[in-house]
Amino acid sequence: MKKILGISMSLLLSAGLMAGCGSAKSGGKGGDEILIGANLELSGGVASYGQSILEGVNLALDEINKEGIDGKKIKLVKVDNKSDAAEATSAATKLIDKDKVSAIIGAATSTNTLAQVQIAQGKKIPLITPTGTSPTITFDKGKLNDFVFRTCFIDPFQGTVAANFASNELKVKTASILIDSSSDYAKGLAAAFKEAFEKNGGTIVGNDEAYVQKDTDFRSTLTRIKSKNPEFVFVPGYYEEVGLILKQAREIGLDVPFMGGDGWDSPKLIEIGGKEATNNSYITNHYSSGDSDAKIQDFVKAFKAKYKDKTPDAFNALGYDTLYLLTDAIKRAGSSEPEKIQKALAETKGLELISGTMTLDDKHNPIKSATILKFVNGEQKFEAKINP
């Protein structure tokens, strides 16, 4: 094991040196390869996110390299940021200075992406996060980070979509909100939900009830919500707590529809909450493997063929989409020079991807459709596709 590690390390080092010396291989100068960096969480606390994205990226890589881009092939340079912001920063520096990549894909989480933003901006290398949903990644304090892009929609967007779904499809007039107050993600979704729901003529009943991560007993708060008689409850949290919330809500007889965002998307939600408790609840998500769209079904088939019959989840799909988004920009730019790619990326319009038809707005956030999924006996069923 040590030997293999040693050999691969020395290979990596010499590859780095070669890339440093000979400009023929470096991405920007038009060799026969386009180097793309992948700065992902391949180990550490959120390794499953990074691994899933990489699977998606690798599938897209196989497909794109069959034809290549104007005869050139894409070469992926992977770096493990160990789910750590400081590692992510040094990994980004290594990718740019040593490997001379044309663009970087990553990281999975908002925190680890934010750690790279200044470097990408300073060195003028396009950076695309597949799943970093915090609004400040691309647009912070009234200033656009013009080299930074994302494939996923931002947090507040999901809240708006959920509010429109509740008002227009479920036709509810009153709703309660239960927030994970230790998460900016939850707060962002809740604020957007409230604004859109009230604009649609709905009323939020009760104050915003709140909990913090790792809480296990929600019965008192749920009893309080129940006494306000809402027709609908919005819980934009993560699956660990949401599973318990759903279970305890059903136990005290709070049977109205519940809804949340992509933070619910985990098989653990069903394990913790139980199949029955999750019935009559909905989530907004980036994509659904159950969508009947032919393009999506082809993707699901290809993914299953490559990864031992595994059904692709949203992280897989967004990883896959990210490389296609980048490839589309490289094709339109007709070059692998970072600044030309950046310009082309910013002009992305109506690009058909697995996670929806995508147009980037002036804050570099995608405007695309969101998928609504309904839980039916523990399965996520495709319910609707909502356009913004």
Binding site: K214, D217, K247, G274
Partner: protein, 292 residues
């Protein structure tokens, strides 16, 4: 009606605290050691219950027994390795060691199996909602309350009626004199740890069955809350731990009921501070002047 429902919620939450607090208060009562690793023994108990149910396909009661036995052994091992060498050291040294043991168990567990949560199978115990005059009571919470009361009675019986119990009381009163009377102090302390840890193991399995989600750091907050409960009732007093636990659960539920759910952990510690200021020996404790 809502307020009564909230009381019911509080009692079911409080019975878990009470169950953990029983072990806490017992160990303190006998060896005057605040065993901060108690919450982590509770966590280990929960995982042992989980593996017994999912891998060995055992029912609730066999899992409960296995978990209690393993935790009893674990408690004795911890006492022998970590606390016994410090028996005659300062109180603060033992306390710091307890914190160290606690962290060792937590992060050892994360090292062994990762930090991701695990879910108990739903309905290990029948879960039925009982509707009564507009209040909903879950059959599991009744069961938990029942089991806490039964274990408390058993514990009272052991402490007051058996030979081991007599030895425990003697050691807690004066360890040196007990030794002169032919009581094996070491064995008595081991027995205390075994019983206290077995209770923590039982609480762990019950917690998993009721709250489903378990993870390596789950012992932290319930452990500290149980400590507050023990102090509230009067540390070292067994019925006090029971009442303290239930009271703490009810207080927390009422805090949430008035819409301050984010303050409930804070309020638990305010209770601890107030009790330490105004009635340091706890609700059930006798105020006595310490001999100088």
């Amino acid at each position: 009606m809502e307020i009564i429902q909230q009381l019911v919620n509080g009692i079911s939450l409080g019975s878990i605290y009470a169950l953990i607090a029983l072990g806490y208060t017992m160990v303190y009562g006998i060896v005057k050691l605040i065993n901060f690793a108690h919450g982590d023994v509770f966590m280990i108990g929960s995982f042992i219950g989980f593996y017994s149910i999912t891998f060995l396909h055992l029912g609730f009661f066999p899992a409960l027994i296995i978990s209690m036995v393993v935790c009893a052994i674990l408690g004795v091992v911890i006492e022998r390795i970590a606390y016994k060498p410090l028996r005659n050291a300062t109180r603060i040294a033992a306390l710091i060691t307890a914190i160290g043991v606690s962290l060792l168990i937590e992060y050892g567990m994360i090292y062994l199996r990762g930090a991701q949560p695990e879910a108990y199978p739903i309905n290990t115990l029948p879960s039925k909602s009982i509707h009564l005059l507009g209040i909903t009571i879950n059959s599991q919470s009744l069961f938990i309350l029942g089991i806490s009361i039964v274990l408390m009675i058993v514990l009272q019986f052991i402490v007051h009626k058996t030979k081991t119990g007599k030895a425990m009381r003697a050691v807690s009163h004066d360890a040196e004199a007990a030794k002169l009377m032919g009581i094996s102090v070491d064995r008595t302390i081991s027995a205390t740890f075994a019983i206290g840890s077995a209770l923590a193991g039982a609480a762990g399995v019950i917690f998993g069955t009721y709250y489903i989600k378990i993870e390596p750091l789950m012992g932290l907050i319930p452990g500290i809350k149980a400590f507050v409960a023990a102090v509230l009732g009067g540390i070292g007093i067994i019925p006090g731990a029971m009442v303290g636990g239930l009271l703490l659960g009810v207080i927390e539920s009422l805090v949430s009921a008035f819409g301050y759910s984010l303050w409930r952990d804070g309020v638990a510690f305010v209770v601890l501070i107030l009790i330490l200021i105004f009635r340091p020996s706890g609700l059930f404790g006798k105020n006595f002047k310490e001999k100088v």
